[in-house]
């Protein structure tokens, strides 16, 4: 295990912990003296804030979106408190606006931005490589390669942030955040007080100030590169072969297992790149490969030094790697003779991963839970002649079989704007928007304001399950529930919409008839309207009504109830069967045209 001291004495502890990377980051933040943490939930970043809440001694909160989160953390940093803000990779797109200029203003107390990337898209809409943001914003980036480093690097990041007056990007990936490893805790970092001082030249980014700060940023980048050259965060590890590998993050572990005899330039501080250390690696070996997931981020910089290197020509430029993929990709280059100096050539096209062969086995698609009231909304929407613009949350699963009830999923909050544009382009109400409550507050509200002021036609259905359900039932501005469970004031969606001037009704999503009536009425009404379909997420309910049961005498296996796609309904030999998964939501009872479904116990005989 790569346990590096970084000048701190390990404390005497009874045991090592087996932490996920996210748990390690949370514990590392407390150890580094962070006093403020915030973020927006998103896989694979969510557990950092959730772990911090359990640790106590730090203010932790969920924000409406990532931009708000970063701005809130900047405020806490200015006030003199070390602050950490967490998000998934696409969240940094939302927070990119404050980040780019925060690079110019710098910080007061240390500020660390955690971006948890998702190569392979286990739970994301794209697999963008957020390392590019570090270069783009000209800020330092740390990439832990295991849980111990995730723990250690947080303190390193805060120290860097204060020493170089810059926000620091701590970049994780799914296999770091959700990977686990042993972690040896260390003694707490001693903090210097950092009182807030008014400094208009530094914090007011009008052009005449920003030009000065921009110059400071460029100077800072070179001082950081000097640090990157000296720092033990970037280690040249001696090997016993003529083959060298440059790697950071989890890719280092893959490469290390694949080629145990190779020389390594192991990058913990991967931006700015330590050019001299790269050159030094070439003094020891004649062939060098860069092992990195996704983009040729390091490779292109090595090429810019005029050095021959194997990278994306061999290593797939998409999806996750592992030691087997790395070994098979690079094995030919280990034995090949060293390349002679050649005339400049364009780099070869990147390799694409070969798609996984079909296993021929039934796939276990994730589906909406039995009893989820989203089923009801989709059952209504399928009957409307409106193109359903989807959004991001549990309900995105409604786009998959068997429902196929959504036409689009682009990014957080996109449904409302897309609906407005679709309808404006056609000059009639042709599309509806389907958006969750947390997503509505994240970035749907501004689009609704825009649609209203631009006089767009449309129907917006807010699936309000009083929770950020997909990521594990976090609170949001609508619920007012804090991460530690305290309940604060919540924002009422209907009153918010009415305040804007948009027509809005709230219906009980468990009442199918009312739901159908409300959505149908709004679908045929002129102008713009919102229907809030409200019912608590079924996973948060303690008690549920009696399960459904089938009257085998009445069921003729017509399949109408299968249309809703509930996983608790199973066709039997002669009649439908209700499995133990049933939560008793009653939707199938409403749907059945033959009265063959009812509450268990309420049916007269024949209940199975």
């Amino acid at each position: 295990m790569a346990v590096v001291g970084f000048g701190y004495n390990p404390s005497l502890v009874e045991r090592t912990f087996f932490f996920s990377g996210n748990e390690a980051i949370a514990h590392g933040a407390v150890r580094a003296g962070a006093g403020f943490a915030c973020g927006y939930p998103g896989t694979p970043s969510t557990e950092i804030i959730e772990t911090l809440v359990g640790l106590g001694g730090i203010h932790a909160e969920w924000c409406a979106n990532e931009k708000v989160a970063l701005e809130t953390a900047v405020g806490a940093s200015l006030a003199g408190v070390r602050s950490i803000v967490t998000m998934k990779h696409v969240g940094l797109n939302v927070a990119a606006d404050p980040l780019m200029t925060l690079s110019l203003t710098g910080v007061n107390a240390g500020l660390v931005v955690v971006t948890a990337d998702d190569p392979g898209m286990h739970s994301s809409q794209n697999e963008q490589d957020n390392r590019t943001y570090a270069r783009f914003a000209k800020i330092p980036m740390l990439e832990p390669s295991d849980s111990q480093e995730a723990y250690d690097f947080v303190a390193e990041a805060f120290a860097l942030s204060e020493r170089f007056d810059t926000p620091v990007l701590l970049r994780s990936t799914t296999r770091i955040s959700h990977g686990r490893g042993q972690v040896l805790p260390r003694v707490a970092v001693a903090l210097e007080p950092r009182e807030y001082e008014r400094d208009l030249d530094k914090y007011v980014m009008v052009p005449q100030h920003a030009r000065v700060r921009n110059h400071i940023v460029l100077e800072r980048l070179e001082r950081l590169r000097g640090f990157s050259e000296e720092s033990p965060l970037n280690v040249l590890e001696a090997g016993t072969s003529d083959f060298g590998i440059i790697a950071a993050g989890v890719a280092y572990g893959y490469a290390r297992e694949a080629f145990p005899k190779a020389w390594f330039l192991k990058l913990g501080l991967s931006n700015p790149l330590p050019y001299a250390k790269v050159v030094r690696l070439y003094e020891h070996v004649s062939r060098v490969a860069v092992v990195e997931e996704l983009d040729p981020f390091i490779e292109e910089q090595v090429r810019s030094l005029g050095l021959p290197v194997v990278g994306k020509a061999a290593i797939p430029a998409e999806g996750e790697l592992d030691q087997d993929v790395v070994f098979r990709a690079l094995e030919p280059y280990v034995v090949r003779k060293p390349p002679r100096r050649r005339r400049p050539t364009v780099p070869p096209a990147p390799r694409l991963a070969s798609p996984a062969p079909p296993a021929g086995l039934p796939v276990r698609h994730p589906v909406l839970c039995p009893g989820c009231t989203h089923w009801s909304v989709f059952a209504v929407l399928r009957r409307l002649r409106l193109a359903p613009m989807g959004d991001i949350g549990c309900y995105t699963l409604g786009a998959l079989p068997p429902l196929l009830a959504l036409d689009t999923c682009l990014c957080m909050g996109a449904s409302v704007g897309m609906m407005a544009g679709f309808n404006q382009a056609l000059g009639r109400k042709a599309a509806a928007a389907v958006i969750g409550d947390s997503t509505f507050f994240h970035s749907g509200v501004t689009s609704l304001i825009d649609a209203f002021s631009n006089e767009a036609e449309g129907l917006v259905v807010v699936l309000d399950n009083l929770s950020t359900a997909m990521t594990g039932h976090q609170g949001h501005p609508g619920t007012g529930v804090h991460p530690d469970g305290r309940r604060g004031p919540g924002v009422d969606i209907q009153r918010l919409c009415e305040g804007i001037g948009v027509r809005c009704v709230t219906v009980d999503a468990t009442d199918y008839a009312s739901l159908e009536a409300a959505i149908s009425a709004e679908a045929s009404a002129p102008g713009l309207g919102v229907v809030v379909a409200r019912a608590p997420c079924v996973l948060t309910l303690r008690e549920t009504p009696g399960a459904a049961a089938v009257d085998a005498g009445r069921c003729n296996l017509c399949g109408a109830c299968l249309e809703i796609g509930c996983p608790a309904l199973v066709p039997g030999e002669t009649a439908m069967r209700v499995t133990e998964a049933c939560t008793g939501c009653g939707l199938c009872i409403e749907i059945c045209r033959r009265g063959a479904l009812g509450r268990a116990g309420a049916l007269l005989g024949g209940a199975s």
Binding site: M1, R175, G179, E320, Q323, D324, P362, L368, C369, P401
Partner: protein
């Protein structure tokens, strides 16, 4: 490629896969080994497949591996799917009587695999099929299927009994420790003859 051993635990959300992985990791730690692991759980609560990997040895650098030495499956279909993870001479420990059909099978669009034996022979792996549900019930709770399977897997994993005990103590609440220790022993005994111990 090196001395690390890889165990992959596969199944469906809610079957205690992450707990089983935690027990295994603590056991390997008690044995004095380096441990790393990784879990894919994002959609687990919504009926997706769950895969948790635990790797241990003198030195472990990667949290994942394309190939596993041992696959523990808490469900038959996931066991058949898990065969793809096994390298040659690997072992599949499978709760072969537990069947959780996915939506496509329930709707009659896909076929659930009939059994395991044929597929396992085809792939040249050792198969330890355990009626884990029955043994878990015998131990006292159906929820201990995961620990029954760990007991069976213990027959082919290099850990002392004392390490397993510490692994269980470190992860299982004291109130249900006895039930789980019973489940573990039942699983271990169920395959003793087959493994030749």
């Amino acid at each position: 490629m090196n001395g690390a051993t890889t165990v992959s635990i596969v199944g469906v959300g809610g079957q205690g896969i992450l707990l089983a992985a935690a027990i295994l990791a603590e056991t390997a730690t008690a044995q004095g080994l380096e441990v790393r692991g990784s879990e894919v759980k994002g959609m687990a609560q919504r009926g997706g497949s769950v895969l948790s990997t635990v790797r241990f040895g003198e030195h472990v650098w990667s949290p994942v591996s394309r190939y596993a030495d041992v696959v523990i499956a808490t469900e038959l279909l996931e066991g058949v799917r898990g065969l793809d993870l096994l390298g040659p001479r690997g072992t599949l420990v499978c709760a072969h009587t537990t069947r959780i059909p996915p939506g496509g099978v329930l709707r009659g669009e896909e076929d659930y695999p009939a059994d395991l034996a044929g597929a396992a022979v085809l792939n040249n792996v050792r198969l330890l099929a355990v009626d884990a549900e029955a043994l878990a019930r015998e131990a006292g709770t159906l929820r201990a299927v995961n620990v029954v399977l760990l007991g069976a897997a213990s027959a082919v994993l290099p850990f002392d009994g004392s390490s397993w005990r510490r692994g269980l103590e470190a992860t299982v609440p004291a109130s249900i420790l006895a039930v789980n220790e019973r489940a573990f022993a039942l699983g271990r005994d169920a395959v003793a003859e087959e493994v030749g111990q």
